[in-house]
Amino acid sequence: MSEKKNGKGKMSVSRRSVLKGSAAAAGAAIGSGALTGFPTIWAQNIKNVTLRSVGSGVTHIPPYKAMAEEDLGFKLEFTVLDFIAIRTRGITQPRSFDMFEPTYNDFKKIWPTGNFQAVDSTRLKHWDEAIDLYKGPGKIWPDARYGEGQNPSTVQYTSAKDGKDLVKAGTSKWLTSVPSQHNADTLGYRPDLVGRKLDTWAELINPEWRNKVALQIFPEIAMMDLAMALEGAGKMTYVDKGNMTKAEIDKTFDFLFALKEQNHFRAFWTGFMESVNLMVSGEVVLQSMWSPAVTVARSMGVPAVYADLKEGYRSWTIGYMIPKHLSGIELDATYAFFDWLYEGRAGSLFARQGYYMPTPNRTKDFLSADEYGFWYEGKAASGDILDPGGNVLDRAGAVRDGGSYKNRMGNVAVWNSEFDEQTYLVDKWNKFQAG
């Protein structure tokens, strides 16, 4: 009985302090790590907070956690899962974490469950500075391509704090998630084994590379890559490669079956590491790949190139969602985390792995001019380019594959998407594997 009372007492204290805290939070400089200006109790209590976050191996890495804990003063627990598992967890066990970092193409499956609460964009200190990709325009620069498929801005906003719907970007202050990384994907290849420069997606289905090509095992992504290739080769046209009709799926699969017959594909990979292994071990010379995977392959002494293809890129973005159960000081802590996330230090960590964050101007403050030139502006490096661990990624004089931020993210052909006909697609995919 007395224990219960104590518990209640504690709770009311934290409630009160939270109210004070959030009032002060808006103006506080958290990035520096100095918590001056916060009411002491709040500052004390938030130190006892532990935020449990689940994300992919792309982001949930030890240096990130260490950096955040150092600057924020509270604890983070990182759990790494693949994107499919993150999505499944979000749908079936939302209470198991305080923050989820799924990909945007899973939002149409995750958001309607009502397992997550919307983020108040007016409480985010740096939301105004975030790029327009996530807002009304749906593109970073006015002259950028909007891209087929599911543009991030279309799943960014919801109508209310507990909304289950998706509304037009900018028509509400409620965000489904706080965007973190985005990037542009294309094909990776081995110039030493290919013997020439590749400049079109059509190479993916070029019989020259028979049994030396790999795709991703996720049906939608594989379909979109194949669609890029088929369109590039002039064999098919699509209304929307990011949301194919049944007829388009059928036709694409006809090509896929034919390619399987000819033993065109060496493998379909599941994870980052697998794709690196395929490339480093010489199993494939050309494959659908993630940018940092190419970088890693190169750091292992393999001359891998991330192709800059004329048809454009297949892009993606990820972001943090907050499950419904979170409230009080923990919820405040997530907002503090998001503000910190956009401060630029985290941005620099991920920039050095080739990813982009929504506040590039702040990321710039934490990168050297040479680094910013290399990662964002497509300039030749004047010194060695190091990864966050201090290993040399590229020597002086190197230019980033695909060049500048604008050249890559401004040329998005299609966004990673979930198809409306996904049931049909998965059936087809199962048949493709079994048949």
Binding site: I217, G282, E418, V426, N430
Partner: protein
């Protein structure tokens, strides 16, 4: 109090088996009931919601994927079974009749078991550097001049999947076979030999018939393990191969829970029917 103790003693078997029943009830029967419930839910195309409809079951029986999958699974299971049976029988025979001291038996067993102490996940990753184009095996083959091209079917193929099953599951065949062979009365063999039987006759007329229970138990192990695997087939099949479990996993991963549930239960029923049939032939309990 005394009465209570007497009561307990008289029915102690029921108390003793209660923990087992509770655990299996909570973590096997209830979850299966949950899955059964889910198999009637509605999948909207993006998410699952409670309902009562037969869509998932109708799909499970009418889609041609189901039949393709069962054909693929049966084929792979049968090949794996045949190989593990031949190797398993040979090894069990070897351990029982060829190696005569127990300590040497134990030593050889340890030798075959050590590789399994490495994490299964790690071993799965290691297949590529072992069997890949630039892997150890191909380097050896090309180094010996047996081929001037790397053998590409060694990985990302049906061959690779079956090979990894043989790698993982053969010992499941060896164990029960060893168990039954070790109990064959040696005087029977001597008697047969005294009557002029040769080794082949002894093998076919005595050892194989007496090993039948071991074969059945091993078959059950191998079948159940192969049929429910979805990891090896994905990684070593290069994502190009399908099976019943692969489809179940794909559907689950696409959050099509009802479809996944119905297909999963169907697989379970098929397996139980198969095992039930096997157990009619041999009473496993007597063979333990």
């Amino acid at each position: 109090m005394q009465k209570l103790i007497t009561l307990f003693n008289r029915h102690s078997a029921y108390f003793q088996v209660t923990p087992l029943m509770l655990i299996l009830g909570a973590f096997l029967i209830v979850p299966l009931l949950v899955i059964f419930t889910y198999s009637f839910y509605e999948f909207t195309g993006y998410f699952t919601r409670p309902a009562f409809e037969l869509t998932a079951w109708i799909r499970a029986f009418t889609l041609d994927i189901t039949y393709l999958n069962y054909w693929a699974t049966i084929k792979i299971t049968a090949i794996t079974w045949a190989i593990t049976l031949v190797i398993g029988f040979t090894l069990a025979y070897f351990f029982v009749f060829d190696i005569l001291t127990l300590r040497f038996k134990i030593f050889l067993f340890l030798l075959t078991v050590v590789p399994f102490w490495t994490s299964g996940v790690v071993r799965m990753i290691a297949w590529l550097p072992f069997l890949g184009k630039e892997g150890i095996v191909n380097s050896a083959i090309m180094g010996l001049g047996l081929s001037d091209q790397p053998l590409e079917f060694l990985i990302f193929s049906e061959f690779a999947v079956i090979m990894s099953y043989v790698h993982m599951f053969t010992l499941f065949m060896v164990a029960p076979l060893f168990n039954v062979m070790a109990r064959i009365d040696r005087s029977l063999l001597e008697a047969a030999r005294d009557q002029g039987s040769n080794n082949w006759q002894i093998l076919t007329n005595i050892i194989i018939p007496l090993s039948r229970p071991g074969i059945i138990i091993g078959t059950i192990f191998v079948t159940a393990l192969v049929a429910s695997d979805f990891t090896a087939i994905r990684f070593l099949g290069g994502g190009k191969l399908g099976s019943v479990s692969m489809t179940i996993a794909n559907q689950y991963n696409s959050v099509q829970f009802p479809f996944s549930a119905a297909n999963g239960l169907l697989l379970l029923v098929v397996l139980l029917l198969f095992v039930g049939g096997m157990m009619r032939v041999v009473d496993i309990r007597k063979q333990l």
